[in-house]
């Protein structure tokens, strides 16, 4: 046993907790979370609530907590509501790391995410460059969802700062609904015949937006964040311009590592006051897991089912 | 009439939970006869009819049609067997036209995929015309309760039936319409159609029917030929005791000069009636008569603030009454009993106790605004006892009561408060002879204590027997007043219909 300290005790369990747990965004995260767990000989579990409801997510978090797991990798739907539950978890000895969304005022050990600002910024550059730095664009929003708002804000800010000839002509709320996105893009295209691009911070809207753009003659470039099979097909067919996709797998893998270390701080001894003060030596406040740019050329590598088949696992069901 | 009876009921029983509504009753209906069914409220008449009509299923016993045992599983089956039923409670589709309601069964049976509205209107028109000139293209919701009752009857007349069941069809009708109905019934009889006729009005039974069957407390008592019995005899069989005095004594003539309690001056509502003047003295029972649609209900409702007046004034006890809503009227001591029992009289889903206390909760409210449930129960129990409500208990929802008993609950609600003036619109609609006597006595007692009472009634004997004075309304105006000495059926009918009085009556009528 002493030969390899990177091994779990029997029954040592690490849990991932999310809201809207049925959607595929989380699956690649858990896939790598699980792989890391297996490599450490730990149990892992995928938990959460199928609803988009912070109250229910907290209930599922609390329930997971009641089973005294070693650590929880959580995507807090809203930051502050999770302060109290996370702190309670830390108090009872369960390590907590947040991913993709943070609860900065809580005592969570680390936060791992792709950089939403960088994503928005990159997307803006890509769109503007392809349009020669000149033209009209619009954004679809999902007001109130923090990481989405950040991407949109960064997109718009970058355009204003670096591409003065790109003109923002419309903002509409599509709220992750493809039919609303469809109507919004059709209406925007009517009001602004020269509309050249539209950006949205998530994939659901893009299906409707892309269809509307296509019906409008295909001169509107659709840019988004996140991917799914449909989006990838459309990217390959040239109906969608591109997508920025956070490196979810690394969120899961690194998330696990951060959790594991937080649970086993005795393994490290950094040059600081932790040892003497008796505090947790494992402190990495922020990790950037990076993001990918998905285009025609690499789209094939982002299909979830192909990925699963390649790996021969059962995804979240193990 | 040697062949098997058209309809025969044998040893039939039905219970609703612990309540035995019928135990082992029988009934025999011959071809072409009009057969009356009598019994107190809650005796089980409607329950039996509902079983014949396929609305309810019997627990025990047999129903035979033309000598063949049948099970009537649904109203549709009943129709196929040639049974048509006019329900005691009005059951019409309020959002549909009169015509569609009348022809609903035909529409249901219709094979053609599309409606033929022309035909529907023509047929409905034909059926309706026999009874009253109600336009068949109006929506049922826009009709008064009595008109709806007529539609209900017309609906049954369109059915091609051999047994027609009429469950208290005249309860909301005036003499004129009732007479028209009777002539239709006599017609049907001639054509060999058998009729079961349920009514609490002895006079009707004795002028229309051939035989009468009496039920008491859910049991069969007797069947007699009308020719060989008398109203008193039937009542005795129904009630189980003698009823000696049908109506209470009237106001002694010297007391009639009491102070004026309610005075209505030049009241109009801008549409249904105009320039109504009316005075009610303390201790007096004032009757209001008139034909269906004359506007009696509207006048009463406007006095109470249930409808908007366009001009005129109302004074209660000498003080002008400013009513913005009916609640103000209740506050001032003026209450109104609706003629539409189901629509606005009772809360069907709520308990009897809760119904009785609805009008004046303040009386039952103790400290901290809490309801004194013991007082509520006591009040309901004592009034129910007094009015002879047949029920499982005061906790039972009103919907489980028979029609007449529901009406008693509605009346109990009015009597539970101590108002200065009570206006009752068709108060004894559907109430049996015994209970009616009791209610009339209660009203007279109240009057003797100084309460002013207005009774709107379509039943002429009631107006004549109970009231000290009768106003007759015709087409939204008061056509005349009849004093105690002038009250008789002919006089009222003539004022109501506007037919010139014959010289014999001329002297008795004071035109207003």
């Amino acid at each position: 046993e002493t030969a390899n300290p990177f091994k779990c005790q029997p029954g040592e369990k690490y849990v991932m907790n999310v809201m809207v747990s049925g959607v595929e965004y989380w699956f690649p995260v858990y896939e790598m979370f699980k792989q890391a767990g297996q490599q450490f000989g730990c149990e892992t579990a995928y938990t959460g609530t199928p609803e988009y409801d912070v109250n229910k997510q907290i209930a599922s978090f609390d329930q997971a907590l009641a089973q005294k797991p070693a650590g929880i990798l959580v995507h807090p739907m809203n930051s502050d509501p999770f302060i109290e539950p996370i702190n309670r978890a830390i108090e009872q000895g369960t390590a907590v790391v947040t991913f993709a969304a943070d609860s900065p005022n809580s005592k969570r050990v680390s936060y791992i995410t792709s950089d939403n600002v960088a994503e928005g910024t990159y997307a803006a550059d890509a769109v503007a460059e392809s349009m020669g730095g000149k033209g009209e664009y619009a954004v679809l929003e999902n007001p109130g969802q923090d990481n989405h708002d950040k991407r949109v804000a960064a997109f718009v800010a970058r355009m204003e700062a670096k591409w003065p000839d790109m003109k923002l002509v419309g903002r509409a709320a599509s709220n992750q609904d493809p039919t609303k996105a469809y109507q919004a893009v059709l209406s925007l295209a009517q009001a602004h015949p020269d509309l050249g691009a539209v950006f949205m911070p998530e994939a659901n809207s893009a299906i409707g937006a892309a269809q509307a753009a296509k019906e409008g003659g295909g001169k509107i470039k659709v840019m988004l964040a996140d991917v799914n099979a449909k989006i990838l097909d459309m990217i390959k067919a040239g109906e969608i311009f591109g997508s920025v996709n956070p490196n979810q797998g690394m969120q899961g893998y690194m998330g696990f590592m951060l959790l594991w270390l937080a649970k086993h701080p005795e393994l490290i001894d950094p040059m600081n006051d932790a040892k003497r003060a008796g505090t947790n030596a494992m402190k990495v406040p922020f990790v950037d897991n990076g993001f990918s740019i998905v285009t025609k050329d690499n789209a094939d590598d982002f299909y979830w089912d192909k990925y699963l088949k390649r790996r021969g696992t059962k995804g979240i069901e193990e | 009439m040697t062949d098997a009876p058209v309809l025969q009921i044998r040893n039939l029983s039905k219970a609703f939970g612990p309540v035995k509504a019928l135990s082992g009753v029988q009934l025999e209906l011959r071809r072409g006869e009009v057969h009356a069914l009598c019994g107190e409220n809650g005796a089980g008449k409607s329950t039996l009819m509902n079983m014949i009509g396929g609305v309810l299923q019997p627990d025990e016993g047999e129903i035979l049609i033309d000598g063949q045992p049948v099970t009537v599983t649904s109203p549709a089956t009943a129709q196929k067997l040639g049974i048509a039923l006019v329900h005691q409670e009005i059951a019409l589709c309020q959002d549909a036209t009169v015509a569609e309601n009348i022809c609903m069964a035909a529409i249901n049976a219709r094979r053609a995929p599309l409606m033929n509205y022309g035909e529907v209107y023509a047929q409905a028109e034909k059926a309706m015309k026999q009874l009253a000139p109600i336009p068949v293209r109006t929506k049922v919701a826009d009709l008064s309760i009595s008109s709806q009752q007529l539609v209900e009857i017309a609906k049954a007349l369109t059915l091609d039936c051999k047994v027609l069941i009429l469950d208290e069809p005249t309860a909301a009708l005036t003499e004129t319409e009732a007479q028209r109905l009777f002539s239709i019934v006599r017609d049907l009889k001639v054509r060999g159609i058998s009729v079961i006729y349920i009514s609490h009005r002895m006079a009707e039974i004795f002028s229309l029917c051939d035989r009468v069957t009496v039920f008491r407390d859910g049991r069969y008592v007797a069947t007699e030929a009308i020719a060989s019995t008398s109203p008193d005899d039937v009542v005795r069989k129904m009630v189980g005791r003698e009823i000696t005095q049908l109506y209470p004594d009237k106001l002694a003539s010297d007391a009639a000069s009491g102070r004026t309690l309610l005075s209505v001056n030049d009241l109009s509502d801008g549409s249904r009636f105009a320039n109504v003047d009316l005075d009610l003295k303390a201790g007096e029972i004032l009757g209001i008569g008139g034909l269906i649609g004359a506007g009696r209900s509207e006048i009463a409702q406007t006095i109470c603030g249930l409808r908007q007046a366009s001009s005129g004034s109302v004074a209660l006890d000498g003080k002008p009454l400013t009513i913005r809503s009916y609640a103000d009227a209740v506050q001032a001591g003026l209450v109104y009993l609706s003629e539409d029992r189901k629509g606005s009289g009772v809360f069907l889903d709520l308990s009897i106790a809760a119904n009785v206390s609805a009008l004046d909760l303040g009386k039952l409210t103790g400290r901290f605004g809490l309801l004194d449930r013991r007082a509520e129960a006591d009040q309901a129990a004592s009034l129910a006892k007094r009015l002879g409500v047949r029920m499982a208990g005061i906790d039972a929802p009103v919907s489980t009561l028979s029609g007449g008993n529901q009406q008693k609950v509605a009346i109990a609600k009015q009597l539970s408060v101590s108002p200065k003036v009570i206006i009752m619109d068709e108060p004894t609609r559907g109430i049996d002879v015994g209970a009616k006597v009791e209610i009339h006595r209660l009203l007279r007692d109240l009057a003797n204590q100084g309460v002013g009472i207005i009774v709107i009634s379509s039943e002429l004997p009631e107006l004549i027997g109970l009231c000290d004075r009768v106003l007759v309304v015709r087409e939204g105006a008061i056509a005349g007043e009849l004093g105690a000495g002038q009250l008789d059926e002919e006089a009222i009918i003539m004022l109501a219909s506007g037919v010139q009085p014959t010289p014999a009556h001329q002297g008795q009528v004071n035109h207003v």
Partner: protein, 327 residues
């Protein structure tokens, strides 16, 4: 007063008939909005914009038809959004398994009808109410969508173009979607006013007991209307699939409120017995015009909801007054 129930004599001019209709108020309000908009934005009064608005609500409009009939019978269906999605997902999955898209779609519609039948069973035989039955169905069917798709959208990129044409193609410049929508609305509006079978829907919703007394098998009526609503949802799902070329397991979530709102704005009552298809379609048109207008006017997203709600409230109040005036 319902235009459909009220017989209109031949003597009345068609203009008078129009003015007396329950829907006249709504038409006036929508026209007023459109006129205001055409001053505010030069792009409003263009065929392109109208086409866009029509496209945006025409598939939902098919569901509105079913919902209105269900509301008339006194029911309600909260599961429409889930059933739309289910139809998409089932058809899509079958197509991906190798079935031809037409058969797959028919099966998708059939299973939607089946869900309607199951709901109808719980309502008529078990005796639950429509609200709670369809709420449970909403959750169950959404769950089924997740189970089938494993949470990921099915990409139906390989759908043959002649199938996609249903959702994306057009005939002489008029999109098929709009043609289908108009045909469905016209047929059901006509049937609801004129067909014997559909009159029973009104009677049952207006007074179930009275309908039973006339021999109408009200449980049958309620059953079939429940099936019809689910079937039309299934049809809408298939058309959505043809339009978007995808089947997303979260599609249609929350759609039910919009649909019920449209029917209620158009005069349907939650208590049953009243409502018209035409009115309900005007209802969804109103909602759609308001949404489009806000986008055209480039109102801030933060204010859009508030303004939309206020216009909705104002329109409904105005309609109420116009309607009350007449009767």
């Amino acid at each position: 007063m319902h235009a459909d129930i009220k017989a209109t004599g031949p003597s009345r001019s068609s203009f008078a008939r129009l003015a007396s209709m329950r829907e006249a108020g709504l038409i006036v309000i929508i026209l007023a909005l459109c006129i205001a908009m055409s001053f505010a934005s030069p792009h409003f009064l263009t065929w392109g914009n109208f086409r866009a608005m029509l496209m945006s609500f025409s598939i939902e409009g098919i569901v509105v038809v079913g919902m209105t009939i269900l509301l008339i019978v006194g029911g309600i269906d909260l599961s429409v959004g889930s059933v739309v999605c289910f139809s998409m997902v089932v058809s899509g999955a079958l197509f991906l398994m190798g079935l031809d898209p037409w058969t797959a779609s028919l099966i998708g519609i059939a299973v939607s009808a089946l869900i309607g039948a199951v709901m109808g069973f719980f309502v008529t035989v078990v005796g639950l109410n429509h609200f709670i039955t369809s709420l449970a169905a909403m959750v169950i069917v959404r769950g089924l969508c997740l189970v089938i798709t494993k949470g990921t959208p099915l990409s139906l990129f390989t759908l043959p173009p002649e199938f996609k044409a249903i959702g994306q193609g057009s005939f002489q410049g008029i999109p098929y979607v709009i043609i289908i929508f108009v045909v469905v609305v016209a047929i059901f509006d006509f049937l609801l006013r004129r067909a014997t079978a559909f009159r029973k829907v009104f009677y049952t919703g207006s007074n179930e007991k009275a309908a039973q007394f006339s021999g109408i098998k009200t449980n049958q009526v309620k059953f079939w209307v429940t099936v019809l609503c689910a079937t039309l949802s299934g049809v809408a799902g298939v058309i959505y699939m043809a339009r978007f070329g995808a089947a997303t397991p979260t599609f249609g979530a929350g759609m039910e409120l919009n649909i019920i709102a449209a029917a209620v704005i158009g005069g349907a009552s939650l208590k049953g017995g009243s409502g018209t298809i035409f009115g309900a379609i005007l209802g969804i048109a109103l909602l759609s015009v308001v949404t489009s207008s806000l986008i055209l006017l480039d109102i801030s997203v933060y204010w859009q909801d508030m303004i939309k709600g206020c216009i909705l409230l104002a329109a409904v109040s105005a309609d109420h007054f116009l309607h009350a005036k007449k009767s």
